[in-house]
Amino acid sequence: MLLRLEPRGQRSRLWTYASPLLALALTVVTAAVIFAMLGKDPLQSLYVFLISPLTSATGLPELFVKAAPLILIGVGLSLGFRANVWNIGAEGQYTLGAIFAGGLALSYPEAPAILLIPAMMLLGILGGMTWAAIPAYLRTRWNANEILTSLMLTYVAQLLLIYLVTGPWRDPDGYGFPQTALFSSSATPPILFEGTRVHLGVVVAFLAAIVGWIVLTRSVIGFQLRVLGQAPRAARFAGFSQERLVWLSLMVGGGLAGLAGMFEVAGPVGQLTPSISPGYGFTAIIVAFLGRLHPIGVIFGGLILALSYLGGEAAQIDLGMPNAVTGIFQGILLFFLLACDVLILYRLRGPRPLAGGA
């Protein structure tokens, strides 16, 4: 081996923040190579993917609209991941939040917005928490792996949504399309800037990140979460209740994912359909890692991955590329990020000097 890894002995602060930047740079280079392999002009493709979505008047506001659900879910996941609670079923919790809130919006379309919107937010949170409570209960009571249970529930949630929008909740005037009626105007979260789609949820997402930051760095619970993740034995000796932290991680993650689902269907989507999410729940996992499992970092991670969605749409329109390109780049970004993260704990060294050498 020409290069070897040598333990640093402690975490490198520099590489904690430099690693995402290096990973982004490597992803862009790889993307250029892939574009070239697909027979496109790499530079022009990169421009379409990364720059063109932001050049139009609605570009920047749209970026925040797309980032809002990613940030909301990512903040919740980053707290759980720190404690080694692997909730990867955020997509299902998002769906349940959308179903709970959507059900309310369809039942009381005439209710005043001042009551309806907060009630929908609460029900969205409740929906996500309900779905996350299942893996939490199964993990704490029966020792069942939350990775597999939360993921299985994502499929169940999607089937439940399809059942509702093709069955009991289908819009009778919808020409048989699998969708509910459009939500009433009082069930639509207020738009903050005229002429854009920036809704209340964007502000809530930023608030969630700030609150998450305070909880993580300034509260006993945040301290316990960090200890449980970094030194599980120490957490046990200190008497931290692991069960409570598992519940807490899943409730926060599920609640925020449910809230994201509520804002997305009430705002940009405006009704329940089978395709209310382009995989936000899974992309938020990348957002959490890119944001260094730190709520403020998650804001940046959310904006970057929101750009990948916009870029994917632009590439579809301008370059005729399938939408799947977005998923590939998201996967590659996470690959590079995980590889670069080795530099946080290890440094690269050249070949070992020969024995007896100076």
């Binding site: 990775i147 299985m152 499929y155 439940l160 093709t166 399938p322 799947a324 590939i328 995980l338």
Partner: protein, 302 residues
């Protein structure tokens, strides 16, 4: 019941079980070496589309199966480089592999939607060779892990990588090989989906089977023979849920019972959770059988 119906039922269950059994057998070997690869779903999807595309272009299902095997192994190689050489977190890397594989298969597969292939040739009792290969593989793996020297070494690496390293076994190399084997088997499982089960390609066609295979490894508490039981149980559930949907309604004591098809489709996923809980609640049994170093990175000191 008519004899012909029973035979057709058994044949259908075997068809539904085979991809689960192939993927779970591969993942079991990977996990026994101490590596937790959650990218099964992604590796299966890439195997499915590569096998399908190769068969369409060459006209040879055999070449398609071989290509799928290599594609699965190539995906596993990405995982192995990241987790075994760059010591990345195995859970996160496995998720990345699934996200990447889902996107890659959808991109490559876009132009193959709607194409049909003849599928794998039947060799015996109306089944193709992969069905029998899956059965041979599970017994071969059982023998390998229990009776062979190399199998013992692989288990030692999975149970205590430090001790295995101290004795002089190449921990990282053994884990690379076990991970590649797991990927190749997932590629085969994917090829079975696109070349035998469906004989066509559809985006996300594995529909969570990779994750069910991961759950099966826990269900079997890392014992290969129990994988056979689990895979056929789940194959039965999957076939049953399809059969109920095809029938439209089932009758219970003579009364027709209308069940929404989506709720029937949810059955395998709910059953996976139920089975996982039933096994996992016995903590001692899990601890006895799970590889002690599962999911932990190894870095040789000095």
């Amino acid at each position: 019941m008519d004899q012909a119906i029973i035979i057709s039922f058994v044949l259908s269950v075997m068809t539904a079980s085979t991809p689960l059994l192939l993927a779970a057998t591969g993942e079991l070997v990977t996990e026994k070496s101490g590596v937790l690869n959650l990218g099964v779903e992604g590796m299966m999807l890439v195997g499915a589309i590569v096998g399908f595309a190769t068969t369409v272009h060459t006209g040879s299902a055999l070449l398609g199966v071989l290509a799928a095997l290599l594609a699965g192994a190539a995906m596993a190689l990405i995982f192995a480089i990241l987790t075994l050489t760059f010591l990345a977190n195995q859970v996160a890397t496995g998720l990345a592999l699934t996200i990447f594989g889902t996107g890659l298969s959808a991109l490559v597969g876009a132009s193959y939607v709607g194409t049909a292939v003849e599928g794998l040739p039947k060799v015996l009792f109306g089944h193709d060779a992969l069905v029998y290969l899956s059965l041979i593989a599970v017994f071969a793996v059982a023998w390998f892990l229990r009776r062979s020297h190399r199998g013992l070494v692989l288990r030692a690496v999975g149970d205590s990588h430090d001790a295995a390293h101290a004795i002089g076994y190449p921990v990282v190399l053994i884990r690379y090989l076990a991970t590649l084997f797991g990927g190749a088997m997932c590629g085969l499982a994917g090829a079975y989906m696109s070349l035998a089960y469906a004989t066509s390609w559809a985006e996300n066609m594995t529909a969570g089977r990779g994750w069910i295979a991961l759950a099966l490894v826990v269900f079997a508490t890392w014992r290969p023979i129990w994988l056979l039981v689990g895979a056929y149980l789940f194959g039965g559930i999957m076939y049953g849920s399809l059969a109920i949907q095809a029938a439209g309604a089932i009758s219970l004591f003579g009364y027709p019972l209308v069940v929404p098809s989506q709720l029937v489709s949810a059955l395998p996923y709910v059953a996976t959770i139920a089975v996982l809980v039933a096994i996992s609640r016995d903590r001692a049994k899990i601890r006895m059988n799970a590889p002690a170093c599962l999911g932990r990175s190894f870095h040789a000191a000095g």
